[in-house]
């Protein structure tokens, strides 16, 4: 299609130009041109850069360029002991930081075969699911923002703010939680927390009617979503797409069911799927997932026992045995896997974070081909990537 020179960095490698960021020349027949979307663009989620080759408004080729938010979490992990990596985890994906934080704790617990007290397990489920709802609410808002609807964004942020306040009451942070500890959690929840959570669930259910009237049924919204950005089952396997994006392709794959972790096997919940595999299907799956998360929270609140929140003997400094462990959880965006290799010292030999957004974003070139500029944003929004999670 184009010569090698059009690839970013190719000029630098060939020594022809000192400026790797220079706009690549348009192709010789003048039919297409390049558009750099991002890394600074109002609706790029984070600092993603999409190098688009356009014919008019139609996308001929798209190349996502990532790495602008690379913070070397994996390298940091190899330089700190297990405990000291804890605050990093919630910063990998700051929108569902709790899930990541707890997942890391659970992974290490599995390595060390630590028993987690029942109460702590229930608390973990509640806060993780609250976090999932908050992540989906944020997605809901930003997706609509990408489509040009500003008001739903603020409504959903209003609701999300409630969750953040509820979590703030127990974890002390609003976004980047460091709530989990190996063996339990830092703070116990009180009755007020549970009551607030219950009240919030009722409130959110009430709000859902408004959301549906304002957004779901809206004919403009539907026309922007239906049939746009199809990521079907084959593409999903091809790219290892997971999470709501995969479930929207009709595959009922959810790590909470496939490989139950924590105490998820004790809860009743459905795995919402849709068949369209398009933006609307993803929207549908996420909205339905919020409902399922609320169901789980209700069950957990009903069942939560009294007791300690940490094992009697708290871990201080420990050296896991030599070995490797893969631990997967269902984050708000898909399968989040932690691959820990231990060499027997108190510092991890290797921690690989398999983040869902990385795989989900990888399919963009395929999905975007032939769509329009406006759809780029819509599809990107519907996949719900978090760039820091892609770059780690």
């Amino acid at each position: 299609m184009t010569s090698d020179l059009h690839k970013p960095g190719a000029a630098l490698a060939a020594g022809t130009s000192a400026d790797p960021w220079a706009t690549p020349p348009a192709d010789p027949d003048g039919e297409t041109y390049y558009l750099n979307m991002g890394p600074q663009h109002p609706s790029m989620h984070g600092v993603l850069r999409l190098l688009l080759e356009l014919r008019g408004e139609e996308i001929v080729k798209c190349e996502p360029i990532i790495g602008y938010a690379h913070r070397a979490h994996e390298k940091m992990a190899e330089n700190r002991n297990y405990m000291m990596f804890l605050p990093n985890t919630s910063r990998v994906d700051y929108l569902s930081g709790m899930i990541y934080n707890i997942a890391y704790c659970q992974a290490v617990e599995k390595m060390l075969a630590i028993e987690v007290p029942e109460r702590a397990e229930h608390i973990r489920v509640i806060v993780c699911e609250l976090n999932r709802v908050s992540s989906h609410l944020l997605w809901f808002g930003t997706f609509l923002l990408d489509l040009g609807g500003i008001t739903p964004f603020l409504y959903s942020f209003d609701d999300r703010e409630q969750i953040l306040s509820i979590l703030d009451r127990v974890t002390g942070s609003r976004l980047t939680y460091c709530y989990g500890r190996f063996g339990g959690v830092t703070e116990d929840v009180d009755k007020k927390f549970l009551d607030e959570t219950t009240a919030f669930l009722a409130r959110l259910r009430g709000r859902m009617a408004e959301y549906h009237a304002l957004v779901t049924d809206n004919v403009i919204f539907r026309s922007r979503c239906e049939g746009v950005g199809v990521i079907d089952r084959e593409t999903a396997i091809e790219y290892g797409v997971t999470g709501p994006t995969l479930r929207a392709a009709g595959v009922p794959y959810d790590v909470r069911r496939a490989e139950p972790y924590g105490i998820y096997d004790r809860f009743e919940f459905d795995i919402p799927t849709a068949s369209g595999a398009d933006n609307l299907a993803r929207y549908y799956v996420r909205v339905a997932e919020m409902e399922q998360s609320m169901r789980i929270i209700e069950q957990a609140i009903a069942k939560i026992p009294d007791g300690p929140i940490m094992p009697e003997k708290a871990l201080k400094r420990f050296k896991p045995d030599v070995g490797e462990h893969y631990f997967a959880v269902e984050s708000a965006r898909g399968q989040f896997g932690i691959y820990i290799v231990s060499d027997g010292s108190d510092v991890p030999f290797r921690i690989k974070l398999r983040t869902p957004s990385f795989s989900n974003l990888a399919c963009m070139p395929d999905v975007l081909r032939g769509t329009m500029v406006a759809d780029t944003i819509a599809i990107l929004g519907s996949i719900d990537i978090v760039l820091p999670e892609v770059d780690r």
Binding site: S43, E57, G149, I150, T151, L154, L214, I220, M372, A374
Partner: protein, 326 residues
Amino acid sequence: MLKTLSDLVPNVFLAMLLAAAAIMAFATVNALFLVWLERKVSARMQRRYGPTVVGPFGMFQTLVDVVKLLSKQLISPKDIDKPLYHLAPIVVFVPVVLGLSLFPIDKSFALVDTNVGLVLVFAFAGMGFIAIFMAGWGSNNKYALLGAMRAVAQNIAYEIPLILAALAVTMIARSMRIADIVEAQGSFPYILVQPIGALIYYISAVAETNRAPFDIPEAESELVAGFHTEYSGMRFALFFLAEYTNMVIVSMVATSLFLGGYKGPLLPGPVWFFGKVYFLIFVMLWLRWTFPRLRFDQLMTFAWKVLIPLALANLLVTATVLKVMS
């Protein structure tokens, strides 16, 4: 009898000067007010407060913002098409100012009164997108260019249903003089006679002013700021001013054609006139803060496949009914 400015002020030059001053003053004050209104309405719809600090209900916030914009450095990007880039903010502003002068705000007063008033209004309004295209082309920015291309296509597409809808009204009123059309709406406004025409007109008008859900030329989530991406400071403010004045013009046309202009019980004419105009503007704000944006091709489809056929059918029916009745 309808009086115009030239009736009141015999000196032509003085009259022109006065008219220009009045219109400029109105356009500016109106834009200040509308920006405030937009911010306030949007805020309250989103359950925020909006501006509250400067002045009562934060009304002078926009004034302060204008001062800020005025004091800002004017930044021109490299490699722009200088004449086009610098002219565009002025060109976008001129036609809307001209258009403002043509509406009778009361039974007895309009700034200018001509028997082709309606044609003039649409003619002036049609010039707006030329400026947008100048801005987009001159900016040497791909987002701006995309925005400009969209704007042109959109304006051409929506001008047709807009004029077709207005045409049906002129056929009933048998005049293109705006004052006559208003007068022809005796005891009931034409919206009752032409409900579909009114709707088509209003939708097209929203599209003409490039406002959400038809704001694809600026589409901030895709095109950063569309055609005015590279404009800052006062130049940007002029685009803003033009947009808000444009809203007033299309609402004034709608008021005059479909809502009976200054007519209404009890209250004086200007109150009715501006009341209706601002109500229509409020609805525009309301739409903007409710709906997501259409995609470009959907927008065109909507114009060519829905609005234009409907407008044509409406015109046909009107013509038939008129023929039969006469």
